[in-house]
Symmetry: C3
Subunit: 340 residues, 3 copies
Amino acid sequence: MWIRNAWYVAAWTHEIEPGRIHARTVIDQPLAIYRTADGAIVALEDRCPHRFAPLSLGRLEGDALRCMYHGLKFAPDGTCIEIPGQKLIPQSACVRRYPLEIVGSWIWVWMGEADKADPKAIPPSLALDDPAWRLQASQLDYDAHYLLIDDNLLDLSHLSFTHEKTLGLDMPQWADERPRSQPLDRGLRFQRWLRNHPPRGFMKKLGERLDVWNSYDFLFPGIFLQRTSFYPAGTAERSGGKAPAGEPLFHRIDEQAVTPVGSRASRYFYAVGTRAKDIDADKLGRLFDVTTTAFYEDKRIIEAQQKLIDLEPGRAMLPTSLDAGPTQFRKLVEAMAVAG
Amino acid sequence: MWIRNAWYVAAWTHEIEPGRIHARTVIDQPLAIYRTADGAIVALEDRCPHRFAPLSLGRLEGDALRCMYHGLKFAPDGTCIEIPGQKLIPQSACVRRYPLEIVGSWIWVWMGEADKADPKAIPPSLALDDPAWRLQASQLDYDAHYLLIDDNLLDLSHLSFTHEKTLGLDMPQWADERPRSQPLDRGLRFQRWLRNHPPRGFMKKLGERLDVWNSYDFLFPGIFLQRTSFYPAGTAERSGGKAPAGEPLFHRIDEQAVTPVGSRASRYFYAVGTRAKDIDADKLGRLFDVTTTAFYEDKRIIEAQQKLIDLEPGRAMLPTSLDAGPTQFRKLVEAMAVAG
Amino acid sequence: MWIRNAWYVAAWTHEIEPGRIHARTVIDQPLAIYRTADGAIVALEDRCPHRFAPLSLGRLEGDALRCMYHGLKFAPDGTCIEIPGQKLIPQSACVRRYPLEIVGSWIWVWMGEADKADPKAIPPSLALDDPAWRLQASQLDYDAHYLLIDDNLLDLSHLSFTHEKTLGLDMPQWADERPRSQPLDRGLRFQRWLRNHPPRGFMKKLGERLDVWNSYDFLFPGIFLQRTSFYPAGTAERSGGKAPAGEPLFHRIDEQAVTPVGSRASRYFYAVGTRAKDIDADKLGRLFDVTTTAFYEDKRIIEAQQKLIDLEPGRAMLPTSLDAGPTQFRKLVEAMAVAG
């Protein structure tokens, strides 16, 4: 059921404190994540092969993990290096080590066959401490299947409704202006100009009307990398409807990752920010709070949606012209599942 | 599994406030119940056909409901009247409107085929604000199948035991005097004289001994409409054991409705009262409190019973002579299920 | 799935107060346990045969139990002696009475065919008020299958790890010195000498080095009867590695019983103590507290283990040389299951 040959965001790097073993679950697989002495991050299967006690309840001994049920000890590559009371350590005495990469501030784990793990397939994302940007980040948990959250991010027309009182007033009528989409490897790119948009709040100083270039990539399993750039009115026209060339007046960034935890559990990582010069820490804090409030609006509606889906599994949904993004992406996920 | 072609009590009318959308569930079907501008009450399927978000998390716009996920809008008859971003609205874009009737203070919904909904099949019940009566009402939720609650109401011999310390002392030995029952359309009528009954509390002033005429109709799915009339001792004899003709000294009324919510969830609506002249508001409050306490005694035992039934599904119960009412009613329900 | 023809510990005798009916569950069977007027303890099936209300919500009438749903009354032998409203009591109107024995302070119930219940098969255990001993007792509940708790008790090598900070420092390296085991009827006996052990705390006064004789019987379903005797260093040598003959310097006793409640629920009864002369009440209190803390360490790891087992049922565990005890005992349980 799960697509194993894929990179998943397991945590923010700042979540993994030195000297502690952190339990995380990705596609129903338990992970014990910790730092070795040199600060590197390791993800091992969080289940001792002996009696299935979690290693995350164990002890960090140098760079190794000891299970604190009967004392088996594992090197950071997952091989067992000690079984109390016996000399011989069978080759099968190991836990799986998951290929792990850090890109920006996300810890990515590869859940499938190790020899297929290609770090170059991981999309770029910002480090939260990148000095060119000012970013704030958090995460929240959903009692819902990750594809329902993906659907939400693949059709931003919901902004005008679900977030009417939070993001909606600052946003154009997303439902009426459709983005152009193009296929990416394991994802889709959405781009659009929103023309002659009246700015609100602290953006009013930028001009009476602005053209807004919105572009986001959406990649399996639920990576949302969005840039929203504000230009003087008329820029869209001058760009011939294509991507603008010059520096924007204001540049907002949104980076999010949906991670499937189980069939009805997901974790949603998100960062919001701007160029460092666009905003101060106080304004960023307000932007972050509004964004967080909006994400709880999504959570409320999506968890309710999940319950109604589960009440009558298999009941068909009504297709509308809003669904192009979600529909294309679901096809892509189905193709990945078939490919294995 | 559920009997759909039937009227069910969804709520008290006073629960449905103007300007709000209320979520209720009847036989596993989610309902969004609200008032239109003229005060009329509407029950729509609480599930947008587009993505299955609940309309009860949506917005009331005049008499219409807008789903606040992607903005589909529905008229009070359930037809979709707006899909943001598209002109064409397919005929299948609608939610079910449930036939709804108000009788007394209960909101009845018809869960089956609309053309079979006959308002005349709804039994009469009092309005809580009827000036001839003084009534107090509430509801409570059970973690149990509705038929277990029905069984309880169909065999009042449990009053002497379950309610020994609440209703029992005010009641005759219900276990020993059996009512006569007669079939009704979709229910049963139970009637009996309890002779020479010693009155308690504020009824002592009515006489040293009273004859009590107890009559109740019990109708699918769990409608309990009871009249208990107190007469001077000897009235039963003079009436030849039949229904009394004259005005009683005191007249208690109990109206209850059991609504199946899910297979292990039910809602129990109840009103207790007397003629307005029988009792003042303070005494009614005490009567109501005792009744409520008694209903929690039922709830405790029935929820425990449900757990023991679920521990060994299919285990046979021991029939006794007390079971005539429950047994007849279960047969009636089975016949309704077969009839469809 | 359950082994019925066996004795199980249902409760401590002091839990069963006169005048109350106590609900307990053993191998998914509900029990109503109470004392008759003469103080004897009775265990009846906690389910009225009429409507499956629990008798533990009923009323004690002399030595009989009355169901407080419709009033059926049961003698302490389980036969029904009253059905309100009818004269004839069918033979099938009874609840099961479970054979029950008290040994020491444990109430044992036989869950299988009554004619196979042999009280002599119950292992001896101490009464908590035995004047020769000073004992303190309690119980705790696990969300885990009882055999996982048994595994824990059948391989004390976990003491060095799970209880490193509680019992571990007071204990020798249990993982490195293996006990000898021998089969018992429905169990195993484990015995070992731990030589030249440095005493800690209040045992320091007994000598600089001690030899420790540890012996425990482990019996179905999870009865753990342990004696740990401390002798002057050299005693093991003089005993030829066999059981010591003389009185020890100090004698610790641990008696525990694991009772399966359901497939993911168990109750763990435990008593810890010494000879009365070994310790005062205050020191016993501290010994008890440390032991309790250790048992919560077990609970934490075993409940986590249960979850990881349930995540992938059927996944094979890695055998090690530590597993001799658990493996032998599981074979014994399988043989009992086959024997029926």
